[in-house]
Subunit: 140 residues, 3 copies
């Protein structure tokens, strides 16, 4: 019989462009779901943020932020038409597209079916927004 599970995980951050390891939060959801074989979707519920999988290494996270800022600079704020609406976060909407909205991970024998270094991160590019990640598991 197919089962499904849904949880919206909230958390808070103090930095402007935080990258937060949420792997253990997702693991807790998976245990709670009781699902052994299936797929888990983890997505940002905010459109200036990304969920992505990579290495838990602070130098790399520094490199990502520096590189994203070079690709889509926050300033000058008035170089983006989106910011004519009164927002100043057009760059964050672009950064999120580069890094992606979501990841889908295989669930095998009740575990995240990961390679040796894979960890799940929430990256927020406009730090004043609330942080909420959706975890949806389907399988059996």
């Amino acid at each position: 019989m197919m089962k499904s599970y849904r949880n919206a995980v909230w958390f808070s951050e103090s930095e402007r462009m935080p990258i937060t390891n949420i792997t253990s939060d997702v693991r807790e959801c998976l245990v709670e779901s009781g699902i052994k074989e299936g797929l888990v979707l983890i997505n940002a519920m905010h459109i200036t943020a990304s969920v992505f999988i990579n290495d838990d290494e602070s130098g790399l996270h520094h490199d990502y932020k520096k590189w994203l800022e070079a690709m889509a600079p926050h300033e000058p704020v008035n170089s983006y038409r989106h910011n004519d609406t009164g927002e100043d976060n057009a760059d964050a909407h672009i950064k999120r597209q580069i890094m992606g909205r979501e990841v889908v991970v295989a669930v095998t024998a009740g575990k995240l079916d990961f390679g040796p270094w894979e960890q799940i991160f929430y990256g927020e590019f406009d730090g004043r927004r609330k942080k909420r990640v959706l975890v949806k598991v389907i399988g059996e």
Copy 2:
């Protein structure tokens, strides 16, 4: 019992780089599927196009197009080896990789399980192609 649903949604556009809100098309598919809990995959069936989730704000869409053109300019056409084949759309194949091929969205209580501003878009970067999006729902 697991159910599945499949629909290929066609639509047409007049611009060269249109960004079209397809959220209501996907919602119609979801209702038609009768699936209440599961996942829905929405993907471009063309390799110069993207399906992505972000804000329905025309200034932002302008910013995306301008930024994508700066990242992977259409011209000079002969700077890309792909265009030696007689095509002139190498830049569109690159733009599509930045913006992504597909999104996967949770289905909860028969609805798209979205944050407050999430909307689904089809972005075509080589406007002469036909526009077709695949919607596949699995769940129960």
Copy 3:
């Protein structure tokens, strides 16, 4: 009744930034799974590599590599803080984020539900790593 299938496909490459067509490997997994309707997830198990869908055209693959190198150059190696750890592959971690970790493909009537030109590729951006791709199918 929901079924699931899992296989980790290994392969080897000699180039530094190989792009390998793995569509037939995925098709073999799908046949082996016996699943007719559902979703298949195909993801890199390494964090300097991507699985993506695009055209099987060698000029385009050349364009991707040249463009990725311009976006996130390998050298100077010491311009990345990640490389202070003794690695020299920070650029590969960035390239992988641009091209994506995974694809999700619809399974319809026992086949990959593809548009006319869609093919699945494994792109490795730090060629010294082992190449392993996870294929997970769920459905019935």
